[in-house]
């Protein structure tokens, strides 16, 4: 892979449009986000500052980068960003675009699918056993109809279906 990059102003402008209300261009690369990031601390070369910079340079690789999904949306970066860039939100938008482009790791699709089907983000058999032991009712089923409606409106359902195909 060549080390040489080009700045793609058209892609950059699209990205800025994508981010919408957030002043992502105000980012002056101070690194507060990465310094505050729990994921960056434990996950090798995950670096939210660099992700935002690559997006601002118009690099298409940003959306294919699986490391994006390490963001746990804890919002510490948004809390601390001196320029109100709100990196969590920016990353969320990048993730959504990645979804639209179908460039998402399989595990993430599986997770989406589980939520659409069960309403839960993880399947837990042990939870019911535990609940029974302490005299609680088993977990009631979740109305996935509403979730699926939301997913349909936001386009998530179509994308997961497509991905499965």
């Amino acid at each position: 892979m060549s080390m040489v990059e080009k700045i793609d102003f058209a892609a950059r402008n699209e990205f800025i449009k994508l981010i919408g209300g957030h002043d992502v261009t105000k980012c002056f690369q101070c690194g507060t986000c990465t310094a505050s990031c729990v994921a960056a601390r434990f996950a090798g070369n995950y670096n939210p500052r660099m992700t935002i910079l690559r997006a601002l340079r118009g690099s298409p690789k940003v959306f294919e980068d699986e490391r994006l999904w390490l963001c746990g949306s804890c919002h510490k970066c948004s809390e601390r960003c001196p320029e109100n860039v709100e990196p969590t939100e920016v990353l969320m938008q990048i993730k959504e675009e990645a979804f639209r482009r179908g460039a998402v790791p399989k595990a993430i699709y599986d997770k989406g699918d589980l939520i659409l089907k069960t309403g839960w983000s993880l399947e837990s058999a042990s939870a019911d056993i535990l609940r029974r032991r302490v005299g609680l009712q088993p977990l009631s089923a979740i109305n996935t109809e509403d979730i699926n409606k939301i997913a349909k409106i936001t386009g998530l359902a179509i994308q997961t279906a497509e991905a499965e195909r």
């Binding site: 990059e5 261009t25 002056f28």
Partner: protein, 798 residues
Amino acid sequence: MVAQDVPKIGVFVCHCGKNIGAVVDVKRVCEYAKGLKDVVHVKENLYTCAEPGQNEIKKAIEEYGLNRVVVAACTPKLHEPTFRRCVEEAGLNKYLFEMVNIREHCSWVHANDPEGATKKACDLVKSGVAKARLLTPLKDISVPVWKEALIIGGGVAGCQASLDLADMGFKVHLVEREQSIGGIMAQLDKTLPTLDCSICILGPKLVDVGKHPNIDLITNAEVKSCEGYIGNFEVEVEIKPRYVNMEKCDGCGACVDVCPVVLPNKYDMNLKPRKAIYSSFPQAIPLKFNIDIDSCIKCGLCMNACDKHAINFNQSPMTKKLKVGTVIVACGAQPFDALIKREYGYGKYENVITSMEFERVICASGPTSGVLLRRDGAPAKKIAFIQCVGSRDEKCGNPYCSSYCCVASIKQAMLIKEHDHEAEITIFYMDLRAHGKGYEDLYSRARAEGIMFVRGRVGEIRETANGKNLVVVAEDTMTGGIIEQEADLVVLAQGLDQGENTSALSRMFHIPVDSYGFFMEAHPKLKPVDTPIDGIFIAGTAAQPRDIKDSVTSASAAASRASIPMTAGEVSIEGITANMVNPEKCTGCALCVKRCPYGAPKVNAEKKKVTIMEALCKGCGTCVADCPFNVLDQKHFREEELLAQVDALLEDEPENKIISFNCNWCSYAGSDLAGVSRFTYAPNVRIIRVMCSGRVSKRLILRAFEKGAGMVLVAPCHPADCHYISGNKWAEERIDKQLRKALPTYGIDPRRLRFFYVSAAEGIVYSKLINEMAKELKENIETWKNQKLNLPESGKKI
């Protein structure tokens, strides 16, 4: 009061509460002082500086007819002025007072050794008395100040300084090299951070200068010579011919219309034409025309067109003589020559332009009426700004940051955005420096506008094969990748170089320049607009790269500083100057002229003799120490006085003593600080105070060795910190190089001479140094004591 022939010395030893008294046996010191020659009265005080203590001194002067007073107490830096005033009130000349430092240099640093401290205090008093015996009354020099000022340079700084002084009521002579005042600011389109029109805010100021009754505006002229000193500078200004009679010309412009010669206009960075008869720009002040005689074909059409008969081809240069009391140098800086950075292709690729060219191109009155066009007429859509062109670059001799260019490029990028919001702008920078009021806001707005910032210095610029576009290559240091960015226009953010006339003016006015060629301030923090030459001030970019606001600020500051001596009407100069004591021996070798950074010694070409302009002398004594024929001496630090101090200090046990020559400003203050900080050190050091290490002659050092001193220390200011610009440099040359080399031939181990820089903040350094020297002395004392000296005959040139 003139000193009588027979010295009658009074010695007052201070306890300073317990500060001195708890360590030094003051009674013993008093007893010792009583035994010294010419001492007629000795008194101890609990606090000599307090009112009762001072009264005792005054009373004793009267009662015992004292004609010299020695106070042994704290550092002279604290109370010398106090006691000078005190003896003056008693009718004694203030220079007949000598202070002996037995607190900072004795009790505070030898608290662990009362015996050593007491012995040292006795020695120091003896040294003070020895000097006092030889003191002569001196007069401070009072110089009248002529209440007119010369301002060199009519850029925004020169104009501001002129207006400020003129408004205060002083007559101002403003000399401008170009035909119009206005400087670089007149060429700019907009100013930052507000993006308001440059000429719109400058124009009215220029008009004010042109019309002010107190301002004598001299354009198209250069200062040719300057003689004199604060209050009394005599300046010659050469006015170049315009070939247009200034009084007759009314600026109608009829001549321009008919002139057939077309040339590029320098004001428009040569991007727009002018005629051979021209005025640089419409708002020029004075609005008078001017013939470029080298290009004029003398067709005479302008003569016919001018109904005022203002054209005159017979004009010749004129010399105007001025007498001024103060000078403000505001001769500006010049944009860096971008041709030097060959890798950026300026001059080779037509779409690589400089920031100054950009200003004209984006300006509504510029060559393209403010539309950002390339030389081929195509609109520029993708623009790259390259920062630090001629800044932070040792290779091209400018290691400094030019400070204005970051924000200037942001401003220019914003101007492009104002014209064309779709423009794709990238700014390549190393560090973005936007430190002024409102500057960060400008930077912030620029990012919000979508201007791209890439942190990385551009390595090279290439032209594309077709279309004369450019490829800018830089590392994106934020990602570690290399960026190759195509642009259709590249703007090189030029740093600022020293002004074209800086070196000539530096020689003419004896104002030193810093290592980058800009004028040097008297003090970088506390006297930022004063030069080391009294009565001469600096404003604007002549001192350092500055933006408009800082230039104007410095100009108002310089005007305010210059007004002080002019308002007072006279200045007083301390009487410790160099003077000719043996004028008959002077051969006019001019070594003193070379040593003096202030231009005080002058060689009279006819008589081949030097004269000292005492008003220019700052009293470092460097010329005195280096005079090969003992023609010169320094008042109050006379060779005889300093030799007497050396002799006195080395009367007993010389082999065990270290003589330390400390410069008043750095190492003396440093040794004071060691005292204040209670850093103890060996008590066998004896300090002699000089104003500058440059004053320490070879003879003084050799005398110390002759009298048996174990070691000698010369402690100057750090190399760049000399209070007298270069005194320490000459001291190093004379002592650390020449004398050190010669020591073995005199039978002296060179290790016995130390030359060590100590700043006013390095109390700990001084105390460690003395301890280390004392250790070395102890180890070698037997050998050194018995060294057989083979010194040159006294009085002979060393």
